[in-house]
Symmetry: C2
Subunit: 168 residues, 2 copies
DNA sequence: ACAGAAGATTTCGATATCGAAATATTAGCA
DNA sequence: TGCTAATATTTCGATATCGAAATCTTCTGT
């Protein structure tokens, strides 16, 4: 018989122990493991929320990429930003265009290139989903005081700043 | 012409601004956005590293789940842990079993159930990949002092502890 | 003991994704 | 100019994933 589901905190402890036993450094694994399990939980919630709007995680990734870019992007750029093969993007964009969330605009200056942009409906969907997910996200951070939340953000941003320099 | 690729830090700033403009709370978005872009980068590195070992991200998720559980799991549990449909797990396990990384053991007490466990080779692959990824992970956290790293871990663990209570 | 509900895994048809090749355009350069 | 290389997107065949249904086993209640 499978035993009772352990708490997230307990799973985290075990995961860190496992990684350390396999040769990882403890302080590193505590951070990385926590970041990953947090993302995993968030992804589950987003998936449910997006299902209500009849949008897949992959489609949502396209919408947010366009929203964040604040300018038109090419299919290749979107494929790159969303970690997917360029050939897969074609079909995704077809579906999104059919639903009226994005539109393709051929580049007049370079006819091999197509620009993708959010339609008004696309922006509305984005805004709607963000307001919904902000609720869950706020809940997740509830146990952190204002100062702690700021400190957490600061530390993460130090890490982010380093991302480009690695592996290059 | 597409302009120069912005830095991760710059992308982060913009993303937060976009989410705030769409109705998100700033201190929340700073944290959540940072966590997600960090995970995305890590996933890219893992994918490359795993490709060298001829393992997909999905297969790796199965291996780590088994390693962390430290006991045999059923296909359903694995599907749940790795966010995939139970029917998809069947084929994944077939492939992993063909490669000798896992093995299926029928449960003697309940013949509808099958237990999946890592083989010796499975453990070796796990250990090898962990030692490899620890290198990158350590690099990522390089700009944080020991105390800062500890504080980051602590804050994240506070958040983790709350995950179970949400949405239930 | 037995009928029906619940559970676990697999099979099946439809769809999504991948990598490689095809197509079309632009850029570099002799 | 004209030829080759590079770039952007799409098409194509193979594989992976999904949700629903099928199969088999165990549990529940009478």
């Amino acid at each position: 018989m499978p035993r009772r589901t352990p708490s997230a905190a307990e799973l985290h402890r075990r995961a860190v122990a496992t990684y350390v036993a396999a040769g990882g450094e403890e302080s590193v694994q505590r951070v990385i493991t926590a970041v990953q399990s947090l993302t995993k939980k968030l992804d589950q919630w987003y998936a449910r929320q997006l299902a209500d709007l009849d949008v897949t995680a992959g489609e949502w990734a396209v919408v947010t990429s366009l929203a964040k870019a604040a300018e038109a992007l090419t299919p290749s750029q979107l494929a790159d930003l969303t970690n997917v093969a360029p050939s897969s993007m074609t079909h995704r964009l077809d579906k999104l265009a059919d639903r009226g969330l994005i539109e393709r605009t051929p580049d007049a200056e370079n006819r091999t290139r197509t620009y993708i942009s959010l339609t008004h409906e696309g922006w509305e969907l984005f805004s709607l989903a963000i307001r919904g997910s902000d609720v869950v996200e706020t809940d997740v951070l509830q146990d952190l005081g204002d100062d702690e939340r700021g400190e957490l953000a600061r530390l993460l941003e130090v890490v982010i700043a380093r991302l480009d320099d690695i592996d290059a």
